[in-house]
């Protein structure tokens, strides 16, 4: 069959290639995006680890107040992940009201997480940590810290925007359950990345 025949369907049934992995194209696209984002985060975390390992006297600035704050942020994020699953279940059941409600609860928890994240940043800045300087004299610490946590925060903000758009769009009937499910995939991915950021950035450097 020639290319025009395939494009126009020719005299036969339209040529349709089966969906790879038997999942919708929109979901496959999200998985491919997540896989590519894994590379970005892996590169960032490895770069952080590289600098930390190669720098003598890497600072250990995190006191109990920071660790408690990070624990609270983790509980918020993991809880939001569970709630987002409830939104997906409601969306798949066609329950638009509940799907919207749970999506907005996830959004609220995400905003709370972002606020605590920014508060953590201000705490570090208040201690004199900038991209190039810090009170402990290890110049690379600030840049490494802000780049890894900033990457996470950037993803959280992007996901919050997506949650808002998809939530409102699903409520109005513009988007379907597949969009809510895709949004869930991205939100869960952020949660999973945080599972690595907490131990590698914060817990490895608790002040003794």
């Amino acid at each position: 069959m020639s290319h025009p025949d395939v494009a126009l369907g020719g005299h036969h049934a339209p040529a349709m290639e089966p969906s790879p992995f038997a999942i919708p194209a929109i979901k496959l696209a999200m998985w491919l995006f997540i896989i590519s984002d894994i590379m970005t985060f892996a590169a960032c975390l490895v770069a952080y680890g590289f600098l930390r390992n190669a720098t003598p006297n890497w600072p250990r600035p995190y006191h109990s107040s920071t660790i408690i704050s990070v624990l609270v942020m983790t509980v918020i994020l993991v809880t939001s992940s569970l709630i987002m699953l409830m939104a997906v279940r409601a969306a798949r059941a066609g329950d638009r009201a509940n799907a919207f409600r749970w999506t907005m609860v996830t959004l609220a928890l995400g905003i709370l997480f972002a606020i605590l994240h920014v508060r953590e940043w201000f705490g570090m800045i208040g201690q004199g940590v900038t991209l190039s300087t810090n009170p402990w004299g290890t110049g690379l610490f600030g840049g490494a810290y802000f780049s890894v946590t900033g990457m996470e925060l950037l993803h959280v903000i992007a996901a919050l925007i997506a949650l808002l758009i998809i939530g409102l769009g699903y409520k109005s009937g513009r988007y379907g359950a597949a969009h809510v499910e895709n949004c869930n995939l991205f939100w869960q991915f952020i949660n999973i990345v945080w599972m690595f950021v907490v131990p590698l950035v914060y817990l490895m450097d608790i002040a003794s």
């Binding site: 993991v78 992940s81 131990p199 608790i206």
Partner: protein
Amino acid sequence: MSTAGEQGGLGKYIVVYLCMLAVTGIEVAIAGSNPGGAHLLPIMLILAFAGALLGVLFFMGLAAEKRSLILFVAVFTLFVMATINYGWTDSFRVLMGVPYAK
């Protein structure tokens, strides 16, 4: 999330949720009791992978997908993780102050 996963209650997901929180709790307990310990990194990495695996399999619903997708994601991700960690070795060269390999 699969259709099969939806037919049951939320019980499985609540168990996963509690496990993920428990993993973080264990990490904090270990790191807090032994700050800067020599073997902290591998322990933290193992625990982080355990938590992440739970998240990917159940919260992202990969466990309920076709085997081919699970293999695709696993092989792709593990290959990237394994190869990117090759860069760590160079940090020891920097630490030892050796400018070039001899």
